[in-house]
Amino acid sequence: RDTQLLFDLSKPGRRAARLPACDVPEAAIEDLLPAGAVAAAPPALPEVPEPQIIRHYLNLSTLNMSVDTHFYPLGSCTMKYNPKRNERAAAMPGFADLHPLQPAETIQGMLHVLYEMQQYLSEISGLPACSLQPAAGAHGEYAALLVAAAYFRDIGQTAQRVKVLAPDNSHGTNPASAVMAGFNTVTVKTRSNGGVDMEDFYKKLDDNIAVFMITNPNTVGIFEPNMREIADAVHAKGGLVYLDGANMNAILGVTRPGDFGADMQHYNPHKTFSGPHGGGGPGAGPICVTEVLAKYLPSPIVVKVEGSGFSGQGSGNASTLNPEPRTPNPQYALAYDRPHSIGRVRSFFGNVGVLLRAYCYIRTHGPDGLRRVSENAVLNANYLLSKVKHILPVPQGDRCMHEFVASGSKLKAERGVAAMDLAKRLLDFGYHAPTVYFPLTVPEAIMVEPTETESKETLDAFAETLFRITGEDPELLHEAPHSTAISRPDEVAAARNPMLCCRVD
């Protein structure tokens, strides 16, 4: 397979793009622009005809594992199936070709989707106000912490509220976001089931608390046993509870963060609502907050201007072509003038394409369907746990929510096989590796999240493969993978002597 670089395919004079001739009277560039601003030559981009571009990228693509082609039980990432109807929706010119600064009256269909999304996310979280602006989960954390800071500023407690508490098994973005938002972070210990160590929690909880950040279900896939107590204690101290929504896939329609004590949360629509991960992005990070915090949310948000005759519920009773007529006055508007708002954390409205896919997902499932998503995600995870625990111990016990964390420490001690070896060997069998070494609180952690979009047959085959692998010659595993294009890259060398781009010839 071709692993030449794009630049290796270049020859001067080749080209793919052909532009039209200029159809307006043309002046020399030098006559239009100051000499100092004009480049002597265009950038040294590669010169490659279209067929080679296609072949280059398609051949590269086959070196990736992906949800569409492989089981991808990557814990904490919710690698569920990405529905094709959602992709079709996002590609519709009536959405894809909208300019972000068009007047509201020209984008009522778009604003309907976004308004409804605000409503849906609020309903699912039990937190009544929503901003769709943040571009990713961590961006949502950051925006929400700015909201908290604005709130404390408003009530005159900025100097007092300096601490953000987060459990030691939390996602790394939590403390990083807190620091960016101007807080100090304090780590709270957790117990072997991933639950907060309440003793340590109370030790660190004091009047300086601004926000307690918690992931629930937590990163070992357990619903925090002391959730209510924690929230009450934080609130009693005048602090706010932030819910990292990475694991919402376990609890849709089952329990709501707003109901179990959260004041703020973000969503990862690319996890929970099936947005494709795109090899690392784009995602989105909408946030929901309590009524009290609503006025601090980023601007703009979508508001309803007046009672609308347009239901937008897509009942089969509508004509397939003729929409309800455009009303003279727009139904939806963007509210920019919100004096308490933290402002904006990015340009334009947000990652609309991701939100649109999430909208399709929620509309495809409805209330019953969303609950069934979580039921089946939890069922699949527990079923796989019931199979895997006979192969690798699962310290958290016999039950989990949407994912679980097995430990390879016994295997390592007895046979010298590390979690990483298992992960790499699984690639040889056509499975993407589970997440390993996270959370750090479980030794030789192997974190598995099957999601609801995998079959019992796939789970059975995966468990069987895992069993087979643990019995293999350790040497075979140390050198795994064997069937992939490359094996065990030297990451230390990469970091020590960074080669971050192709040298110009």
Binding site: T3, A17, V24, L32, L33, A37, A41, P43, V48, I53, I54, L58, T62, L63, D68, T69, A89, M92, P93, F95, D97, H99, L101, Q102, H112, E123, G137, A138, A149, M180, R228, G253, R256, D259, P276, G278, G280, G281, Q313, P323, E324, I342, G343, R344, S347, F348, G350, G353, V354, E375, N382, D398, H432, A485, P489, D490, A495, P498, M499, L500
Partner: protein, 455 residues
Amino acid sequence: MPYHYNTPEDQAEMLASIGAASIDELFAPIPDALQLKRPLNLPPALSEMELDQHLRQLTALNDYAGTKVCFLGGGSYDHFVPSVCDVIGSRSEFYTSYTPYQAEASQGNLQVMFEYQSLITRLTGLDVANSSLYDGASAAAEAVLMALHAGGSRNKVIAPSTLHPEYRQTIATYFENIDAELVTLDCPAGVLDADALAAAIDDKTAAVILQQPNFFGCIEDADRIAAVAKGAGALLISVFDPISLGILKRPADYGASIAVAEGHTLGTPMSYGGPYLGIMSCDNSLVRRMPGRIVGETTDRRGKKCYVLTMQTREQHIRRDKATSNVCTNQALFAVRASVYLAQAGPQGLKETANLCLQKTRYLAEQLCQNERFSQAFDAPTFKEVVIRDAENNVDGLLREAIDAGYLAGLPLGRWYPELSDCFLVAVTEKRTKADIDGLVKSLTAKSVRQPAHV
């Protein structure tokens, strides 16, 4: 459910293996009092066909750059998206894969990201690039934070008012709770006056951030501004337009140390503003302060050249509260599209595209300003956008009428610049034909009572 497998028989078998009596039992760890005892209040499920019809009804309520001729700019542009970008961007193995932490299962993504980083450095002339950030505005904010960190005790950043207002707003938000000050310099001439900058800059200034071409489409005197910044020991951060680099000097050429851009224009449609592509490139000296993922070349255990995510010690999942930034997600899929776009354009294609924008913008301005009602607000040369002043000071009415005539004619500037409430910003990409422009001019001038100046 179209995406689930578990039949009742399967569920029974699975529960037996688990040792649970029901699925509900699996939720027992959630205290009863915290469980939702009612269905979510959401509309009922739609079939694929109903969803499709529903969305078609909604899009019928939108005007867009396929029903109206689009002259809107201001950071998002109706550039042509070549079909190859769609083909590669919709390839399953690219769009349904995860962040390439597992290098052996991700060499496709990793090599493409490495190539993307290389392409971006060729655009900017700088040493390195990351594998993308969220969008242009947040990339600008991250660049400013980098500069502050690099600047030690320097805590001031200077931005001219010609920097995109939403970029300035984003930076202001990022500054709210940290010890940093954003100083905005007014630019009545539509470009930053180097002398004004020299007056404002001091030894607390960590960086000057300059958009080139600026928000008004005008060409800044980047060389002089860079010299002023450098003279004061501040870094120059460039906010560039990737398309413009077909003609304009690269950020490194005028002395920028960090260059950021909105990259959706490279092969991704406008999509109501997102997801977009935040481009970031910088000097070697700043690489370990750069946020976001970075791909590096290395060799595997058999000595084969390959690619990995590298320098992860900068990142939050290793460093936690000591990370350079909280950025985790990037926009890999749009970095793929941008790579494909740049590959298909090549140097000549990029130059021709930039030239068409330049020429057509000039033509539009000339044609429109033959009518007395309209004039260019600023003297500075412009690239693909131009600010037009309406002598009748009726921008909103004018633009509304233009919509009815079939044109998204421009952005009213009063929202961000009260002093320019009689002005609007018009963008002309390579997609606009002479007939489009003539049509717009005709439409905007049709109701003008005044006669062309030269008649």
